[in-house]
Symmetry: C2
Subunit: 240 residues, 2 copies
DNA sequence: TGTCGCAGAAGTGTCAACACTTTTGTCGAC
DNA sequence: GTCGACAAAAGTGTTGACACTTCTGCGACA
């Protein structure tokens, strides 16, 4: 309880040490916010792999002290999005081919698990809309090569599955590895025939989910990713 | 340039910031080192869940500036071993039951993958020593309730499998989730019959590996963890 | 003309002091 | 005697300055 009516002492005379900045009191951007912005930039390749991130620049841009930028870079390093070399700064990680395959091995089992859990923990009807989407409109999008709307809906399904799986630790892991390969999505989808194959596999998985066959859904998701990996292997020279 | 005749403060009182210590200049403990020490303490419950970690104390103990301790705590927070509450400090995470089950769901597929990859990427003979160990000596250790040697060898096998799987991303993930449940190992092994069942399941997995049956090894590892989870569910009130 | 060395610049790493928040202990009013 | 307010203490958050390392450009020498 405590209620305590906090003393409130501190009216403090509105002269914070920071530049007054009359309008837009501009709260000073948390580490979480900075990390989010930089993640997005790296994913969209606004900052290309190999580029250097200079602390002073970022501090200026976000209007925070360098220390906070350092914290943010440390967080990005933990996630594997940048590498830091002592006294030389932070560099956007350049993902090499072997790491991509390692990640696909993981996605295979993790997204398989995700499909199984989502099936077990959600009423089957939940997935009918998604199935219809992938059977109809998505097919057209692929045929007409409209990648962006396709990707958007694909990611929506992905998020829905993770949410339905109801396992935060799994969600965190999928997030971590997904953001590393996000840059590849477009390049993979252009591979001859890949998008349509992927769509069919999603349909197969969703059908299993609607029939309540959790293990089958897992198996089909795994097969889907396995075949994606095979495609990647075949065309690797065009990807990286 | 700056010239600036630096206030010079520091020569004062012959106390350079580091203890003089003529030889053995005691390098000042890197973040990695501090994180390692704290990880170990948390795993062994030298620092119990819920305990507060005070920055100044740690800074004094390791002989480093508080900033470095803060970096270390941030790293531990990322790994989920401590929680930090603004202005109130870092507290060792208290793992709740639901998270434990979520982690076991993950271990099931991740260690399954690990077993499969290890089988595919290593000559079968590699595992014969381990099999004999688990068939013979380990059985005795369990019968005589010598937990510590048993755990030591169990972890050695675990490390060998991860190493053999040759997937660094997987290794990193297993590490992350394993250290969170490490504190439970002893409590689980005491459960009636659990240790012996686990041993038999390891034997079954190793046999599959020696026969080169990667998928079978994966399946058996998954079954092993599934049954461990079931055990945990049954006796959860004695564990947490 | 090419190369090596050496200052200066630029950028990261570290630190100690200061600012702010929460907690704790004490005193007075009811 | 209990509750509530206040002040001091303890601890965390933030900042700017300083130290150190690496990179870059210039000039001397072979």
């Amino acid at each position: 309880m405590a209620a305590r009516a906090r003393p409130k002492t501190r009216a403090a005379a509105g002269s914070p040490r920071r530049a007054p900045s009359p309008r837009a009191a501009r709260k000073p951007a948390t580490v979480a916010h900075i990390v989010g912005v930089l993640r997005a930039r790296i994913a969209r390749q606004d900052i290309p792999p190999g580029a250097k991130l200079r602390e002073a620049d970022l501090a200026g841009e976000f209007g925070v002290a360098r220390a906070r930028i350092r914290d943010s870079l440390a967080a990005l390093e933990q996630r594997g999005l940048v590498e830091r070399i002592p006294n030389r700064g932070a560099v956007v990680t350049r993902l090499d081919l072997s790491q991509v395959f390692h990640i696909y091995e993981l996605r295979e089992v993790l997204e398989g698990l995700c499909a199984r859990l989502a099936t077990e923990r959600t009423p089957p009807e939940r997935w009918r809309r998604e199935l219809e989407l992938f059977q109809g409109p998505m097919k057209d999008l692929i045929a007409r090569n409209e990648l962006d709307p396709y990707i958007e809906r694909y990611e929506a399904l992905r998020r829905a599955l993770i949410e339905a799986a109801g396992n935060p630790v799994l969600a965190e892991m999928l997030d971590t590895i997904y953001e590393k390969t996000q840059v590849l999505i477009r390049r993979i989808l252009i591979l001859p025939g890949r998008a349509e194959i992927g769509r069919q596999q999603h349909v197969a998985m969703l059908e299993a989910m609607i029939r309540g066959k959790a293990d089958l859904a897992e198996q089909r998701r795994r097969e889907g990713l396995k075949s994606a990996r095979a495609h990647l292997e075949k065309f690797q020279k065009y990807i990286l």
